[in-house]
């Protein structure tokens, strides 16, 4: 195992994050805070409690998930797309590193950044809304696993993309709608029965429900189901990446 390589890739990616701290940390924290102000404080006071939880608190897990998914994907995708675009990928391809080491470095850094961001948003939320965390360990587990899974997913997008537009395509066209419709701002129990059924096919719904459970001990679907969903997502991404590398990267001629 080439530990030095993993460490250097990780370090490179983290330094990129801190170099662009306004864009990569401050702006997602700010935009999420706006949701807290608008939905939590302003509108939330007029919306009734859901499952006995004030609306402002209720939307916290969903909002964190929303940032977590989009930031994990775009970070990991960007991380591997940049060297492809600038040509510096030659060094990675000519280095004595395995696919696993490359993924560990890039995805590890992207996931770390997402977890940091998630915790920061939670801390910021505390300034606007009062909330408790019922199962802190499970909360961190969900946070870490989601960050990891979607960073893996983003890494694949970065490998696949051959222009900047494709890089944005999936997060914008697929992940954002799934998050909004996955119960970030409501409990799916509030939906008409047909839409409740349809929501069950939305994988992101399971993540948000499980994450919310770790805060408030209430959930739309069984927690075991939620946990299985996130583990399954991760395994799926791992398998797909393994297949991509097995069939030759899509990076080499």
């Amino acid at each position: 195992m080439n530990w030095h390589a993993i460490r250097q890739i990780y370090r490179f990616e983290m330094s990129r994050t801190f170099r662009t701290v306004t864009q990569s940390i401050a702006s997602p924290v700010l935009s999420t805070s706006l949701y807290f102000v608008v939905f939590g404080s302003a509108i939330g006071s007029r919306v009734g409690a859901i499952d006995g939880i004030s609306y402002g608190a209720f939307i916290i897990p969903g909002l964190v998930m929303m940032s977590l998914l989009s930031e994990s994907i775009s970070n990991a995708a960007f991380g591997i797309y940049m060297p492809k675009w600038s040509g510096t990928i030659f060094e990675l391809l000519s280095a004595p590193v395995s696919a696993f080491e490359v993924v560990a470095g890039y995805v590890g850094a992207a996931a770390t950044k997402s977890v940091m961001l998630g915790l920061l948003i939670l801390a910021t939320a505390r300034l606007f809304v009062d909330y408790q965390i019922a199962h802190p360990v499970m909360m961190v587990c969900f946070l870490a696993l989601t960050a990891l899974s979607f960073s893996l997913f983003g890494f694949m997008i970065g490998l696949w993309a051959d222009d900047f537009q494709k890089l944005q395509l999936i997060p914008l066209m697929v992940i954002a709608p799934l998050t909004f419709l996955g119960g970030a701002f409501y409990s799916i129990k509030m939906l008409p029965p047909l839409w409740q059924q349809i929501s069950l096919f939305n994988p992101v719904m399971y993540l948000i429900s499980g994450f919310r459970w770790s805060f408030f001990d209430v959930s739309d679907v069984n927690i075991v189901l939620s946990f299985s969903a996130i583990v399954a997502t991760m395994l799926l991404c791992l398998t797909l990446i393994w297949l991509i590398f097995k069939t030759g990267w899509k990076l080499k001629n």
């Binding site: 390589a5 890739i9 330094s15 040509g87 000519s94």
Partner: protein, 307 residues
Amino acid sequence: MQPAINIEALTKTYRSGLEALKAIDLTIAQGEIFGLLGPNGAGKTTLISIICGIVTPSSGRVSVGGCDVVAQYRAARAKIGLVPQELSTDTFETVWATVRFSRGLFGKPPNPAHLEAVLRDLSLWDKRDSKIMTLSGGMKRRVLVAKALAHEPEILFLDEPTAGVDVELRRGMWGLVRRLRDRGVTIILTTHYLEEAEEMADRIGVINKGQLILVEDKATIMQRFGAKQLTLHLMHPLDAIPAALADLPLVLSEDRHALIYTFDQHAERTGIAALLQRLRELGIGYRDLHTHESSLEEIFVDLIRER
């Protein structure tokens, strides 16, 4: 001794269907400087890229220091440093960060003393804290060299190291190559310039349209292609070469207005002075004279025609 690089029946066909390499066989010994010459699109970069693991071969085998570049890619690649033809560098990183990155990527533990020595050797030490985007093109190229040397490779590939580089930097690059060779590093460099290959290489390979058409010691090549011609434009046409000059390698041009003398420019005595002396004695006057050396293009044309 194990060869530094051994290539057997290597071919590469790109997905576009283009046959970039056709059955290349080549062995490069440890510690030698090998010059790979060839026109644009000959396959030089493709060959290097396959050895370094950037391009996958279509068939054939390549080993580096006895390690197969596919099956034992870790051991093989750890021995290699590559300076690519394109100037692809990070932009926002500092010089120091980027060489430290390269060293780690190639599996070596941190060694600031070595990195300092490399940067000093390339006159980049003062720039170590500068962001790469603030450097000039020539400096960026040196940064690429520093990155390639960061992990103390046994074999160094320089893909057109002096393309678009000024005279001073070119000399500097040549000096560096010699110092590396003195330390036992094997060096493979590609170039368009015969002069450069002549200056640096021990052995020269000429590649054209994906085929290695010649691999020879530099001395042999220079003898073969080092011939120069001196053309003397005569005042009055001659009917034939005077008998008094029959012992010299002289040819009379078709219009009989010029004498063409072929000589070896690397020989100690070219015989030009003696020739001019004898012409004066014979009373053969000339208006003008010029010398001509085969250009690389002519050599390629010659080589291809020979086949």
